[in-house]
Point group: C2
Chain length 462, copies 2
């Protein structure tokens, strides 16, 4: 006969967590041996657990260690990266080591049972990896499946996970619906050649460069939507700022007055996200020696043309050339305007608005006061663009006219244009790159460090 899976039975396994309530009690704890330090009197075994590192203390006399075959072994036979079950007593502690998560508790070991062992030939030491040299960085990425086990990387992705959750929580609280839209698409939303192509049952298809069309469509359905999902850019460069596959946090909302509503909303979201990191990731920030960026209650906003002017006035000795009149921000301008905003306004964030219509995606609303410009913005943070957004066109005829004007064929976008034909509210939205946001918040130079398994022109493994 059959048996049953019982939901209500005590589930020690799932909730297994060490807390101060257990001080003085015997517990079972599971983890990977992250590091060991052997002393005359016994030593320390540092366990890597779901929340972080836990210190356990060996007593030379009374702590017993059993190998994977059940036979007793010596402490120097216990390899790093072994999986173990430890039985011991929870004790109060006051641990200074910044890498240890459990600061106020430690386990005095009675016994250790080894559950699995690594192949100790050429074991990669995850405790000593540094990012300092280019060679090390390549080695780290080439062996990402193992090198991620160091405390610095763990802290980065714990914070990345929390950022994702903070967006979900905040946007749900503001009546947003989370959507999942296809990444296999029949037409690119951002135009250009930077698109991956695939064969889809004999038809030509593409990998979505953004969920732009779909999130706009969904504004007509749900009024406020967001998506957190991968997007694909077939850009042929390998820089510290680009990934060919990255996670885009996209939102789109109806009934805005103009792009300022979106910018204001983004500022509020970022405040919430930073607060959440500050409250919940103190340990991870300490491991990374990171302080949260300065987000003042008043974030400076410049038109693109003003950025050119301001930098010409104040940074002409540092600029490689005069950028006035250019249709976009030069990379050096992104750096200098952030420097300026930091010094003048104590802000690590600065909005830049009113990009020219010919250099902005076709769906951006033209500025009624200057039809050469658009109601668009970028948000820069510490020298790097982390967001693009705009008010969008919501009228079918305006789309057709602008598409023809930009040399596009409206017939290639039938289902998209049909949406507007059937009525759409005024709306706008933005996209934030999760990796760039994480890297920016944590002062990480190369955005690849904020991607678990980065994809660039040379890299599809691991």
């Amino acid at each position: 006969m059959n048996k049953f899976i019982k939901i209500s039975e005590e589930n020690k396994f799932i909730d297994n967590e060490i807390t101060e309530l257990q001080i003085g009690k015997e517990v079972e704890v599971f983890g990977m041996v992250h590091n060991t330090r052997i002393t005359k009197w016994g030593g320390f075994i540092i366990l890597r657990k779901a929340k972080g590192l836990l210190q356990t203390v060996l007593q030379n006399e009374s702590s017993e260690i059993f190998g994977i075959d059940g036979k007793k072994i010596k402490v120097n036979e216990l390899s790093r990266e072994s999986a173990v079950k430890i039985v011991g007593i929870v004790n109060k502690a006051n641990i200074k080591d910044v890498s240890v998560y459990y600061k106020t508790l430690e386990i005095t070991v009675k016994s250790i049972q080894v559950l699995s062992i690594p192949n100790t030939d050429n074991l990669i030491d995850v405790t000593s990896l540094s990012y300092e040299s280019e060679a090390n960085f390549t080695f780290k990425l080439d062996n990402r499946q193992i090198t991620l086990r160091n405390t610095r990387d763990i802290a980065i992705f714990k914070i990345s996970s929390l950022i994702s959750k903070a967006f979900v929580d905040y946007l749900n609280s503001k009546s947003f619906t989370q959507i999942y839209t296809p990444k296999i698409v029949s037409a690119g939303a951002e135009g250009g050649a930077n698109i991956f192509e695939l064969e889809y049952f004999g038809k030509k298809a593409f990998l979505a460069q953004s969920p732009q069309f779909y999130k706009q469509i969904c504004v007509g359905v749900f009024e406020r939507v967001f998506e957190i999902a991968p997007v694909y850019r077939a850009e042929k460069h390998s820089t510290s700022r680009h990934l060919n596959e990255y996670i885009s946090i996209d939102l789109e909302m109806g009934f805005i007055k103009d792009h300022n509503d979106i910018m204001r909303f983004e500022a509020e979201i970022l405040r919430y996200v930073l607060e959440q990191i500050g409250e919940n990731c103190k340990h991870e920030l300490a491991v990374l020696n990171a302080t949260l960026p300065k987000l003042p209650y008043e974030i400076p906003v410049y038109r693109l043309s003003e950025v050119h002017e301001v930098l010409h006035q104040h940074y002409s000795d540092k600029l490689s050339q005069d950028h006035r009149g250019e249709p976009d921000l030069a990379p050096e301008e992104e750096v200098f305007i952030c420097d300026y905003a930091s010094k003048e306004f104590n802000s690590d964030f600065v909005f830049v608005t009113h990009f020219p219509r010919k250099h902005r995606a076709f769906y951006s609303m033209d500025d009624p006061n200057d039809p050469e410009l658009t109601l668009s913005f970028d948000l820069l943070m510490k020298g790097r663009e982390i967001t693009s957004g705009s008010q969008r066109i919501h009228d079918e005829n305006q789309y057709r006219i602008k598409m023809l004007d930009l040399g596009m064929n409206p017939d290639n976008f039938k289902f998209y244009l049909d949406t507007f034909k059937n009525g759409m509210p005024p709306h706008g939205g933005l996209a934030i790159g999760l990796e760039r946001l994480t890297a920016g918040i944590l002062n990480i130079q190369n955005v690849k460090e904020a991607s678990l398994f980065p994809r660039d022109i040379n890299r599809i493994t691991p």
Copy 2:
């Protein structure tokens, strides 16, 4: 000079929500005209808003309507799917119409300002779409960008969004880290020919069939991980159960005893998810006329071989053939074992375990008591598989032996196998299809209805 985006300023736009606190007060509300009903004394205009439908009441004498050009229009000139701003008074109401979200409030209209209008030629009536005929279903999918605006679809995807959030909340509370892993990969995890291929800067690459390799790798880093992301199956059939791109809720955790720990955990998660739907989606369940599935505290569990036996005993008159000895569940068996579990145990869920190793993915742990079987399971719900899971192999050598035995070349999986070489805890996990789970919970026959923009062998638009 520049201006500022001020975070602290009153943000009526973002928090704009109608509540009982506003009864008797004048408010501005925004929405799409979902439906209108004109009477002699005035009539009703039903607005579609972010949370759902809101009833507004026209007074023939005193309600003024202004067209998009600012000129006064008559109520019969106000088209459905216009975007409007309404100024009016909040009144108490007691609305019976199941499709209306705001049941206790309505707005008595002072004025309506039209903000945008549809092209009224061939406007699709989203209020009257039915799913009853195959032709209608094809029409609905072909025009998904518009037909989603009906209240039934909105309810489905509100619940789908909540399911996604419930997983995020629950798994975070159990120390899981949310991960985002690449969908452009160098090798398929599930084997077989059902994989989409693409060219990646001159190299051959694939779209991930599952995040299997990456989530296992991440168990070595974070111990407990989950991912909610698209996966791709190049299966050449178009059925009511399959999608070529779908959202997989994947989780993977270390230090399990065996697959039973994963099954027990899944039961607890599902209980939480159903509770959340019951609490937060009463309106949507009513719109769909759906009752939540029966999830008893004891969920029946059968070995695959037992399912064959039980159905042979009790359903031989209904079975098209004798399935005893077969290496998998036949589709009709999925239906009948669920029927049996419902009648015998009052459960809409049933676990099936111990699938043969030759018919299960190579990473499944072999059963120590019968090496022809694996420590694997499926969870069936109302006649359909919604989950596959198992304990995984965690030893490099066991992987190599099994791969060779199954005719695979271990050299093609180097980065994956290197993970185990560097030590891995005993672990296991599962994958749940979000669309199948949503469809199952809501008693929806075709899984495509639970995908915003479904992809099948014939469909890459909209």
